[in-house]
């Protein structure tokens, strides 16, 4: 039980959870600001297939080089690429071959690097979503540090229990229970007639509903 957490009495939320909420939130934000930014788009490397239209459009707008990717569609442009200048200088032909070979390797490795970069990005996103989960699961508890100023030994205190007729079309008896959770404002929960206050599940249902409401308000 976390009641044993402190040797000097009931747990002191201030000591236990003070840094958590802010820190988890900060960590999550540090990751999220970047990943959720529309500017964060990994570069596309479909150089050989030439089928990444968005990337070509961007290149054309940027500096027109994207247009050169369409050289294969023009005969005269293709002819330039097959001009053989080796008659003028044989070593130059060899050098050109070397350039083309290394270019192909570099393109392949760039593509491979891009794939790994995307996997890495996914891994980062996983961490980011775990932080989000951490925040979701834990922030309500960590916020208790800021919200509990008194030393009441009750986390939940019932102030009134009233029985009345519900407002629905088919009138039925319901029990309205008003509780305070930690330092919250009073929360009223409505329990249907079939869960009587003598039922052992009654207070569990009340507490569950009240906690749900409390967490909802905290998130807001």
């Amino acid at each position: 039980s976390i009641m044993h957490f402190s040797p000097f009495g009931p747990p002191n939320f201030q000591d236990m959870f003070q840094p958590f909420f802010d820190m988890i939130h900060q960590a999550q934000q540090a990751m999220d600001v970047h990943f959720h930014s529309p500017a964060f788009q990994p570069p596309s490397m479909d150089i050989t297939e030439g089928n990444d239209d968005r990337s070509v459009c961007r290149e054309i707008r940027h500096n027109s080089t994207g247009c050169l990717r369409m050289k294969d569609q023009c005969d005269k442009c293709r002819e330039i690429l097959s001009v053989d200048c080796s008659a003028n200088n044989p070593s130059q032909a060899q050098l050109r071959q070397e350039l083309n070979d290394s270019l192909q390797i570099a393109e392949k490795l760039t593509q491979k690097y891009n794939e790994l970069l995307q996997s890495y990005q996914w891994k980062m996103l996983n961490t980011s979503s775990l932080l989000e989960q951490l925040n979701e699961q834990f922030s309500w508890v960590s916020q208790l540090a800021n919200l509990t100023q008194n030393e009441d030994q009750y986390y939940l205190r019932v102030s009134t229990v009233t029985s009345q007729t519900s407002d629905s079309d088919v009138p039925s008896r319901v029990t309205e229970v008003t509780v305070k959770l930690f330092d919250s404002d009073p929360i009223t929960v409505v329990i249907p007639e079939d869960v009587s206050k003598d039922n052992p599940k009654f207070m569990e249902t009340v507490a569950e509903k009240a906690l749900k409401e409390y967490r909802k308000k905290n998130r807001e």
Binding site: I2, F5, S6, P19, M23, I24, Q26, A27, Q28, A30, P42, P43, D53, I60, N63, S64, T65, C67, R69, K71, C74, D75, K76, C77, E79, I80, L81, V83, N89, Q92, R96, L99, S102, A106, E107, L109, T110, Y113, L116, L117, S119, K123, M124, T127, L131, L134, W140, Y154, Y155, L156, R157, V158, V161, T162, K197, M203, E204, A207, A210, L211
Partner: protein, 205 residues
């Protein structure tokens, strides 16, 4: 109608508090599980980072070789200039037309401005650049610049987040030793690990 006595209210408060206490414990347990998951993801991330660094080295070697070959090829003066220039003059209009058709069909914005920019670009380009696949080299260099930028930003964000997480997981709450008889830590399996997300070498660096 008020249907319970003060004693009953007190008993109900006790019962409710027990439930809340249980929920707090569940939340704490959940944090433990998420922390383990974060640790696992981080291990996988570190392995991936090593692979990524290796791939980066290989890629940069290949890029350097390409740039070297390009430099050497550029050093040859006036190679087949006349033939290439004649072909280039005929290539340009076709390239412009093909590109503008593509742009109007696919990109659908500001064709006029792009057309003028393209004409200027083609007039300034040399057939030799084209012959050497200079555009592919430029694309590679641009991709390299973008990849480096993305990686830098990603690392910077991650470093900030992991710095905060390191500090968080060093908190008293996580680092109580179980042998301390006065304290009970729900995270008793987490022994003090001062650098949760950073390996030591990284801190030193």
């Amino acid at each position: 109608d008020q249907v319970v006595s003060d004693n009953e209210l007190q008993e109900m408060s006790t019962q409710g508090s027990k439930y809340i206490n249980k929920e707090i414990q569940n939340a704490v347990k959940g944090v433990k599980e998420i922390k383990t998951l974060i640790e696992k993801t981080n291990e996988e991330r570190k392995i991936l980072l090593n692979t990524l660094e290796e791939a980066k080295r290989k890629k940069e070697d290949a890029l350097n070789e390409t740039k070297d070959s390009e430099m050497k090829l550029k050093a040859f003066p006036g190679v087949c200039n006349e033939t290439m220039t004649a072909l280039w003059e005929e290539c340009k209009p076709c390239l412009k037309q093909t590109c503008m058709k593509f742009y109007a069909r696919v990109c659908r914005s500001g064709s006029g401005l792009v057309g003028r920019q393209l004409e200027e670009f083609l007039n300034q380009s040399s057939p030799f650049y084209f012959w050497m696949n200079g555009d592919r080299i430029d694309s590679l260099l641009e991709d390299d610049r973008q990849q480096t930028h993305i990686m830098d930003v990603m690392q910077d964000r991650f470093d900030r987040a992991s710095g905060i997480m390191d500090e968080l997981f060093q908190d008293r709450f996580f680092t109580h030793e179980p042998q301390d008889t006065y304290f009970y830590s729900p995270f008793s399996s987490f022994h003090r690990r001062p650098h949760f997300l950073y390996p030591k070498s990284r801190i030193a660096r």
